[in-house]
């Protein structure tokens, strides 16, 4: 573990990423305590510029709602959507990839054609259609993001499994009479973990972006204050009130950047041989 941490912290960007993400997570967890009032509450006059009142540091929006409170609650939504949809995508992608890679042949063909079917449709367009069909709410958004983001997982896992499949220890396991399920579960998957972890960290970032884009287009959950919603609502008044789109924009940028940096750091830490290349 300490070895892992040592390699991880060698990447300075990754450490910065961890720090930023930690702040975002803290804010999301502590939001109800830091800002006991609902983010929808109209607290001051509309379009109060930032820094004009200490109580409302980042100003207020078109209805007089506190932007800072909105950001804090928006962090909850972003992280929730990012993590849950990624987990869901992994739960779909890993089994499909593993089965296709391990059994090969017809199973591989069927599963991979199925996966490609999803890959050929532009993922954002598909997500819009899915959310629009099922009324926009947090469940349908998470489901839609999961549906469009599992295919890369399946392909990655399949590739890894294919290369592991012909290793001697797998053949040994087969010869010793273990069932296929046991082999996949105990021998194969644990060895594919590192690339999956790296991919997952990037998928969280993508999911956050997707959710923001959907909310920006007005397809967010109307009962949840999210960053994308804040920008979408502020788009038309960008010339009068720049801060309404600027701060949520920065929040999205930093969070996604942090996740990408972490992903890179994880890659360095989990694939030490690759990481040292060129240094």
């Amino acid at each position: 573990m300490s070895d892992f941490w040592k390699r991880f912290s060698r990447n300075r960007g990754a450490v910065i990423g961890i720090v930023i993400l930690a702040v975002v997570v803290l804010v999301a967890i502590l939001a109800p305590m830091l800002f006991p009032q609902s983010p929808w509450r109209m607290v001051q006059r509309p379009f109060l510029p930032p820094l004009s009142m200490n109580q409302y540091l980042l100003g207020t929006d078109a209805l007089g709602r506190d932007v800072l409170t909105g950001l804090a609650y928006g962090a909850q939504v972003s992280l929730l959507v990012g993590i849950v949809s990624t987990v869901a995508a992994l739960l779909v992608g890993i089994p499909i990839g593993a089965l296709a890679g391990y059994f090969g042949g017809a199973a591989d063909d069927v599963l991979m054609r199925f996966t490609e079917f999803f890959q050929t449709v532009p993922s954002f367009a598909l997500a819009i259609v899915l959310v629009a069909i099922f009324e926009p709410n947090i469940q349908s958004i998470i489901a839609a993001i999961a549906v469009v983001s599992w295919p890369p997982v399946a392909r990655l896992v399949r590739g890894e499994v294919l290369s592991l499949r012909s290793r001697e220890y797998i053949e040994a396991a087969i010869l010793s009479g273990q069932t296929s399920a046991a082999i996949i579960w105990r021998q194969v998957l644990p060895n594919t973990l590192s690339p999956i972890i790296v991919l997952a960290s990037l998928m969280v970032a993508t999911a956050i972006l997707l959710e923001s884009s959907l909310s920006f287009l007005g397809l967010g959950d109307p009962n949840m204050m999210s960053w994308g919603y804040m920008i979408g609502a502020a788009r038309t008044v960008i010339r009068q009130a720049w801060w309404l789109s600027f701060f949520p924009g920065v929040a999205i940028l930093l969070t996604v950047l942090a996740l990408n940096l972490i992903g890179e750091g994880l890659n360095d830490a989990l694939n030490p041989r690759l990481a040292r290349r060129g240094k």
Partner: protein, 518 residues
């Protein structure tokens, strides 16, 4: 302060100009106007949505126009009489009126329009014509409408969007909806249809043979189709367009544009429509079936804030089901000022158990979405749990028509008279699944039914007023729906475009009198 000074100086300048060279209208010039959204058709006899009426109202004409107090004014009819018993309406038509293709316009066209064409294609007019016994033409320039019983609103149905005159010689005996002439509308109005490039513009040119000497003043009206609200604002800022009719730009932009040099803004010109917004409250089931809950909703809403923050302070708080610009409005009703404590007390009294209610916003863009959020917050604060249901126009229509909602935003036109645009939302005879234009809330009260019915057929305005006052008092006591605002739709225009909004339908027939000062 600076803005005020500017306004004062503009006012002073306006006063000076008006005394110096008042009212010599200038001929010539082109008005550049935004049309939003692009109308599906310009044949106003077949299609009556907002943008169609706005363009076609300058091509077609009705027998009468209405001023901003809804008083009738001459149009195709030079003069008219109503008999003592309220049963006979006689119209004397202008004699030298020609259709845009040169054919003369006569009483036969009036009969064809009202009795044949529009009876088939115009549901709103058809309902009013139910009261008509017969229509006759003593000579080529006189039309007599005879009613079965007195019907007070009748004098209000001759507006161009309600009873436009349709050329008999083109449509008689044809399939109205598929007549190729629908693409090249022929009216009697001050402007002729010239060209329509879909997705780009509609061009109307001056009717040189117009029957009123000197009118119209403008040579052309050029309607710009610009699909994006921000681009429409930019088009005004850069001088591409000179007139932004109500609803052309986002409400948030209105103040900024209105503060520009040489820019005037008015919320007049909607009196005939009297756009009245409210929230349907489902009277059939759930917490909204309890009158105390409905009253609590009224007290919980900060409507003044909504008007100031979302509607730029334009419009009025609706204190009655009848808009203050509609005939027979009264202020003598139960008022519901913003009072969260009263709302909480009412909820306590009824023992509201926190059952969440579903709120359906009107899917007409940003302002309405924000408004739903503000109302949700208002209701949250008195302890009503609200879930906003996201929906598109089709879904909204369907949910209302199927009564699948608890609270839902809407706004409807009143057409100048409670019998035309108010009664339909409250009388129990108008409850039917499948439409969102009737008594959607499911309110049933026999007294209200009776009062509306008597008021519609009472002969004198005093008798009608008495009943409408009573019905407004009953309705505001029982709160079948939660009234929001009498919407103010601002028309924004360059100040040198004169006399544009002079009637109760504003831009819809305003270009007849408009001129552009150089």
């Amino acid at each position: 302060m600076k803005a005020m000074l500017k306004r004062l100086s503009l006012l002073a300048a306006a006063l000076f100009v008006s005394t110096a060279l008042h009212a010599e209208p200038v001929t010539g010039g082109r008005a550049n106007v935004v049309i939003q959204p692009e109308p599906p058709s310009l044949m106003v006899g077949l299609v009556q949505n907002g943008p169609t009426q706005m363009v076609a109202g300058n091509i077609y004409e009705g027998l009468l126009r209405y001023d901003t107090d809804l008083k009738p004014m001459p149009q195709l009819a030079m003069s008219w009489e109503v008999s003592e018993d309220g049963l006979t309406y006689t119209f004397h038509l202008h004699e030298n009126v020609k259709w845009h293709d040169g054919e003369p316009f006569t009483a036969a066209d009036v009969v064809f329009s009202a009795d044949v064409f529009l009876r088939e294609t115009h549901p709103r007019l058809r309902a009013s014509l139910e009261h008509m016994e017969e229509i006759s033409t003593p000579d080529d320039h006189t039309v007599v409408f005879k009613l079965k019983q007195p019907f007070g609103p009748f004098i209000g149905i001759f507006e161009v969007g309600t009873m436009p005159m349709i050329p008999k010689h083109i449509y008689e005996g044809t399939d109205f909806a598929n007549n190729p002439a629908n693409n090249t509308p022929i009216g009697t109005g001050p402007f002729k249809f010239a060209e329509w490039e879909k997705g780009s513009h509609i061009l109307l040119t001056k009717n040189e043979d117009y029957y009123e000497e000197g009118r119209p003043y403008l040579d052309e009206i050029y309607w710009h189709v610009i699909p994006d609200a921000a681009s429409r604002a930019v088009a005004y800022e850069t001088g591409v367009v000179d007139v932004l009719p109500g609803g052309s730009i986002e409400n948030f932009d209105v103040q900024r544009i209105a503060d520009m040099e040489n820019t005037c803004i008015t919320d007049k010109g909607w009196e005939y429509f009297g756009p009245h917004s409210w929230m349907w409250l489902n009277n059939r089931e759930g917490p909204t079936s309890d009158v105390r809950f409905r009253k609590a909703v009224m007290y919980a809403m900060d409507r003044e804030f909504a008007r100031d923050a979302l509607w730029n302070g334009l419009g009025k708080i609706a204190n009655s089901p009848v808009s203050s610009s509609t005939r027979f409005h009264t202020d003598d009703v139960t008022e519901y000022a913003y009072d969260p404590d009263k709302a909480r007390a009412l909820l306590e009294e009824m023992g509201y158990d926190g059952t969440p209610v579903r709120l359906l916003p009107l899917p007409y863009g940003e302002t309405w979405q924000r408004w739903a959020e503000a109302v949700k917050q208002n209701l949250d604060e008195v302890g009503i749990k609200v879930e906003i249901v996201a929906t598109d126009v089709a879904g909204w229509n369907q949910k209302l028509a199927e009564w699948d909602y608890d609270i839902a935003f809407t706004y409807l036109y009143q057409y100048g008279d409670p019998a035309l645009g108010v009664a339909r939302s409250y009388v129990s005879t108008n409850i039917a699944k499948g439409s969102q234009w009737n008594n959607v809330e499911g309110y049933v009260n026999e007294d209200v039914d009776a009062l509306f019915e008597q008021a519609a057929v009472a002969v004198t305005p005093e008798e009608r007023q008495e009943r409408y006052t009573k019905v407004q008092q009953v309705l505001t006591d029982e709160v079948p729906v939660a009234w929001l605002l009498e919407l103010g739709f601002p028309t924004i225009y360059r100040c040198n475009v004169k006399d544009l909004v002079t009637t109760a339908i504003g831009v819809n027939d305003g270009f007849k009198d408009a001129y552009i000062e150089k």
